[in-house]
C-alpha cells in the first residue's frame, strides 16, 4: 500500500499536510460565509435595536429636562398670580438655585421689557433681544419654547440658551409674559456624550430641518461636514438603514425637535466580520504551520526511517552476504521493523553460511567417495591376489574374485548417482567382503540379515563398505574367528542398517575419533565421510551411531529415512 503511494509520488506526511490544510481552509471559508450570512443580519438588527434604545434614552432625558423647566415656569406663574408681591424674590431664588437659568425677563402686552433678573450684568444699552420673539414650539397651556440662541442683553456674555416663554391669559403683576432663558449647554453636553456604536452620535433637528444642536456642529458650520437634514425629515420615527448607515429618528413629545441617531454599520458589523476573518486567518495560519511541523515530525519519525529501511533492504538484496545492517532510529514501529529486519538479516546470513559450508563439505566428501571408488591400493592388492590365484591354478577362485571386483566397481560408480537402492548397496558390500575374504583367506565369517521389504528403499552409495572395512581393520585384525553381521530392517518410518563385529571393540576415545578423522588415511573414506553424507542428504536426525565394548565387539548403526525411487526428490 505504502509502496504504491510512493510510486504515485506523495509521501504520507505530504498527503497528511495537504489534506489537513484543505480541510482547515474549507472550514474557515465556510465559517466566514456562515458568519457573514447568519450573524450579519442579526448583528444589524442588534445594532438597530441598540441605536433605537440610545435615541429613546436621549429623548426621555431631554423631555424630562424640558418638562422640568416647564414645571418651574408653571410654578412661577401660579405663585405670581397668587401673590404678585413675592414675584421678584421668586425670580431671584430661581436664578440663584438653578445655575442653568441664565436670565428671567418679563414683558408687557406690547412686548416692552418690564424687568430682567440675572446674576450677570446687563448691557448699558440693549440693541437686540433674541430672548423676546423667537418661538419654536407652542403648547396649549400658553408655554412656548424657542430654538437655541445667544443671550444678547448681557454685558460681554453671550451664553447659548433656549427661551421658555409663558404668555399669561390674565395679567399678573404688570407683566403679560415671562421668559426664562435656560442654558443649552446642559443638553449640549449630554448630546456630546451620547455614543452609539463606535463612531455613532446623535443630534437634534427641528421639524423644519434646521440643526438645533450637533456634537460636531463646528465642523458643519466650518463646512467640513454635511448632514442631509432634508432627507432625514422624510423619515418616520424609528430606525432606518440607508447605505450602511443606521438613522434613528425620534420626535420629542413636548417640542418640535427630533433626535436623530446616526450609527455606522461598519463600526459594529464590519469590525466583527473583520475580527472573525482575522481570527480565522490566524487559526488557518497556525494550523498550517503546525501541520507542516507535525508533517516534518511525522516524516522524521516514520517516513524517512521507512525510506532508509527500504534502501537497506535494497542493499541487502544486492549484496546479501557482505551487508552490514545499521539499526534505524525512528518511532517505536520503525524501531520494531528495524529490529526485525536486523534479526532477519542475521538469520539469513547464518543460513547462507551454513548452506555454503554444507556444500563445501558435500563436495569434499563426494570427491573422497569418488576417490574411494578407484582406491588404487585396494585395486592393487586385489589384482595381486587374483594374479596369485592364477599362478596357483585356482581358476575358479580367480573368476569369482574378478566377478566380485567388477561388480564392486559397477555399483560404486552407479552411473554417477549418489543414491542407490539398498539392494545394490548390499551387493556392493557382499562383493567387498568376498574379495576381502579371499585376501584374508577366510580368517573371518560374515552374514547378511536383510529384510526383503527394505531392499527397494534408497540409501547413499558406499555406506556399508567403509563400516565393514572399519570392522575388518580395527575389529577383526587380531582375532582368528572374526564374525561380521550386517542387518537391515525397518524401524517405523526409518530404515536401520547395522554392522556388528565381535572384534576387540573400541574405547570411547577411539569411537569419538571415528567421527573426527576425515579418513584421509590409506583405508579409503572413513566413517565420518559416510555420516556427513547421510546428514547432508537426509538431515541431522539421521546418521551413524556406534555402540562398542572392549573385547566384546562393536556395533555401528546407520539410520536413514524410508525413501523410494519415486519420493527421492521430495526431501
Amino acid at each position: 500500500m505504502s509502496d504504491h503511494q510512493n510510486k504515485v509520488g506523495f509521501s504520507l506526511s505530504k498527503t497528511m499536510t495537504i489534506v489537513v490544510v484543505i480541510m482547515v481552509f474549507t472550514a474557515v471559508i465556510i465559517a466566514l460565509v456562515v458568519f457573514n450570512a447568519v450573524f450579519r443580519d442579526s448583528l444589524e438588527q442588534a445594532a438597530m435595536t441598540s441605536a433605537g434604545q440610545s435615541v429613546d434614552q436621549v429623548a426621555v432625558t431631554i423631555n424630562n429636562y424640558t418638562d422640568d423647566m416647564i414645571e418651574i415656569m408653571d410654578e412661577l406663574y401660579t405663585n405670581s398670580i397668587e401673590d404678585p408681591s413675592t414675584l421678584e424674590d421668586l425670580f431671584n431664588n430661581v436664578i440663584d438655585i438653578r445655575n442653568d437659568v441664565v436670565m428671567i425677563a418679563t414683558y408687557d402686552a406690547h412686548n416692552n421689557n418690564t424687568g430682567i433678573w440675572s446674576n450677570y450684568p446687563t448691557k448699558d444699552m440693549i440693541y437686540t433681544n433674541l430672548s423676546l420673539y423667537p418661538v419654536s414650539a407652542e403648547f396649549n397651556n400658553g408655554i412656548s419654547i424657542s430654538a437655541p440662541h445667544v443671550v444678547t442683553v448681557l454685558d460681554n456674555y453671550y451664553p447659548w440658551v433656549v427661551t421658555i416663554t409663558k404668555s399669561a391669559e390674565e395679567t399678573f403683576s404688570n407683566a403679560a409674559k415671562i421668559a426664562m432663558d435656560v442654558r443649552f449647554s446642559a443638553i449640549a453636553r449630554y448630546i456630546d456624550e451620547v455614543g452609539i456604536g463606535q463612531h455613532g452620535y446623535c443630534f437634534i433637528m427641528d421639524s423644519a430641518g434646521n440643526i438645533i444642536y450637533h456634537p460636531q456642529q463646528q465642523l458643519i458650520y466650518a463646512g467640513l461636514k454635511y448632514e442631509n437634514t432634508d432627507g432625514l425629515l422624510a423619515l418616520t420615527d424609528g430606525s432606518h438603514m440607508i447605505d450602511g448607515v443606521i438613522y434613528t429618528v425620534k420626535t420629542l413629545e413636548n417640542s418640535n425637535w427630533k433626535i436623530i441617531g446616526v450609527t455606522y454599520l461598519d463600526d459594529t458589523v464590519n469590525d466583527r466580520v473583520r475580527a472573525m476573518a482575522l481570527a480565522s486567518g490566524l487559526i488557518f495560519f497556525i494550523v498550517v504551520v503546525m501541520t507542516f511541523l507535525s508533517g516534518s515530525l511525522f516524516s522524521y519519525m516514520f517516513t524517512k526511517p521507512a525510506t532508509k529501511l527500504a534502501h537497506a533492504m535494497k542493499d541487502f538484496e544486492d549484496n546479501a552476504s557482505g551487508f552490514v545492517f545499521e539499526p534505524i532510529e525512528g518511532s517505536v514501529e520503525v524501531n520494531n521493523l528495524s529490529d526485525s529486519f536486523e534479526h532477519l538479516v542475521i538469520r539469513i546470513q547464518q543460513l547462507m553460511e551454513e548452506v555454503k559450508e554444507e556444500e563445501t563439505t558435500l563436495r569434499k566428501t563426494e570427491l573422497k567417495a569418488l576417490q574411494a571408488q578407484i582406491n588404487p591400493h585396494f585395486l592393487y592388492n586385489t589384482l595381486d591376489s587374483i594374479s596369485w590365484m592364477c599362478e596357483e591354478g585356482k581358476t575358479d577362485d580367480a573368476i569369482l574374485m574378478v566377478n566380485a571386483l567388477a561388480k564392486l566397481f559397477r555399483i560404486s560408480i552407479s552411473r554417477g548417482k549418489e543414491i542407490i537402492p539398498i539392494e545394490k548397496e548390499v551387493q556392493h558390500a557382499e562383493c567387498y567382503l568376498q574379495i576381502q575374504k579371499f585376501r584374508y583367506t577366510n580368517q573371518f565369517d560374515y552374514k547378511f540379515k536383510v529384510e526383503e521389504s527394505c531392499k527397494d528403499y534408497l540409501c547413499n552409495k558406499i555406506t556399508l563398505q567403509p563400516l565393514i572395512e572399519n570392522a575388518l581393520y580395527h575389529g577383526l585384525n587380531m582375532i582368528d574367528e572374526g564374525y561380521i553381521e550386517i542387518r537391515i530392517f525397518e524401524d517405523g518410518e526409518d530404515v536401520i542398517m547395522e554392522v556388528e563385529d565381535n572384534g576387540s571393540g573400541m574405547t570411547e576415545e577411539q569411537v569419538a575419533e571415528l567421527f573426527v578423522n576425515d579418513g584421509t588415511d590409506q583405508h579409503g573414506i572413513g566413517v565420518k565421510n559416510v555420516n556427513d553424507r547421510i546428514k547432508i542428504y537426509f538431515g541431522d536426525k539421521y546418521g551413524i551411531s556406534v555402540r562398542s565394548e572392549l573385547d566384546e565387539g562393536t556395533c555401528v548403526t546407520i539410520r536413514i529415512p524410508k525413501i523410494t525411487e519415486e519420493r527421492k526428490y521430495e526431501k
Binding site: T128, L130, N156, Q218, L224
Partner: protein, 337 residues
Amino acid sequence: MRSKKHVTPLYVIFCIALLVLSTIVSFMIFGKRQAPNPLLRGLDRKSFIVVVGKSDQSAFWQSVASGAHAAAVEYNLDMNFVAPVNEENYEEQNTMIRAAIMGQARAIIVSAIDYNANAEAVNEAVAAGIPVIVIDSDVNSEGVACRIMTNNYLAGRMAGEQALRNNEGELTVGIINYDINSANGQARERGFCDVVNESGRVADIYTVNCLSTEESAYDETTSLLIQHPEINTLAALNELMSLGSGYAVRDMGLADSVDIYAFDSNVVSVGMLESGEIEGLVVQNPYAMGYLGVETAYRLINGLPIQSDHIDTTTTYVSASNMYDTDIQRMIFRFDS
C-alpha cells in the same frame, strides 16, 4: 498503518488544543467591544503630534485648539497644543518646535509668529523627517508639507471693500498692524491698501506697527488719532489690535466718526460691533484650521494622500446687521463657554 495509528492521537490533541486556543482568542476579540481593540486598531500607542500656536488666550486660538482637539479625538491621535506666553515670542516657539523634535513627535503643526525667525527650527524638524504643517501664519521654509490658512490678502481686500461700501466719501485710513515680521499682517495690509487705492477715494493711509498686545494697540491708536484727527477709517489687523483700537475709539468718543474694520472676533469686539465702535469684523475659520491641520497630520503620518499642499479656509464678514443671524451666531459665539 499501525504506525499512523500511533501518531494520529498526538496530532488530534494538538489540533484540539489549537482550536480551543483560537476560540478563546477570538472570543477575547469579540468579547471586549467597548474599548477600541488594540489588535484591530493596529498600533497600541497613539501617534504623538504637537500643535504650536501663537497664543492660548485669545478666542481665535482657543477655537483653533478646540478644532485640533476634535480632530485628534476623531483620528485617535495624542495631540499636544502649546503656545508662547505672548504673541511676540517666536524664540519660545522655536524652543517648542525643538522640544517636539526631541520628543519624537510624528508631525508638527506650526503657526509662525515670525516668517523668517521661525524658519530654522521648522527646517530642523523637516530634516529630522517630521512632517510640518503650517496653519494660519506662514513660515519661510521650503520643507512645509501643507499650508492651511486664510487667504489673508483676500481677507484684507474684503475689509477694504466693506469700508468703501459703507463710506461714500473720501477715506483717510489708519492701519493698526502688528508685528512687521508677520506674513499675515502684511498680506492683510496689502489687500486692504490695494482695494482702497484702486477706488481712488483715499486721501491718506497711515500705518502703525504695534507690539501684538492690546495695550500697545490702544496707545498707538490713540496717538495716531490725535496726530491725524482726519482719519475716518481704521483697519485693525488682528484680534488684539481690534480690542486696543476699539477701546481707544470708545474712550476718545469717536465711535460715530471713525469706522473700525477689524479681524477676528471675541465677545468684546462683538459688543463693540453692536455699540458702534467697530463697523465690521472679518472673521476667519480658526476651528477649521485646527481641525484640518490635525487631519492633514494624520494623513501624512499614515501615508495617505492630502488634497492639496495649500488649503484656504473661509472668511466671513460680520456687521451689526447680520451678527445675530443664526449662522453668524453659531460662528462667533462659542458653544462650550
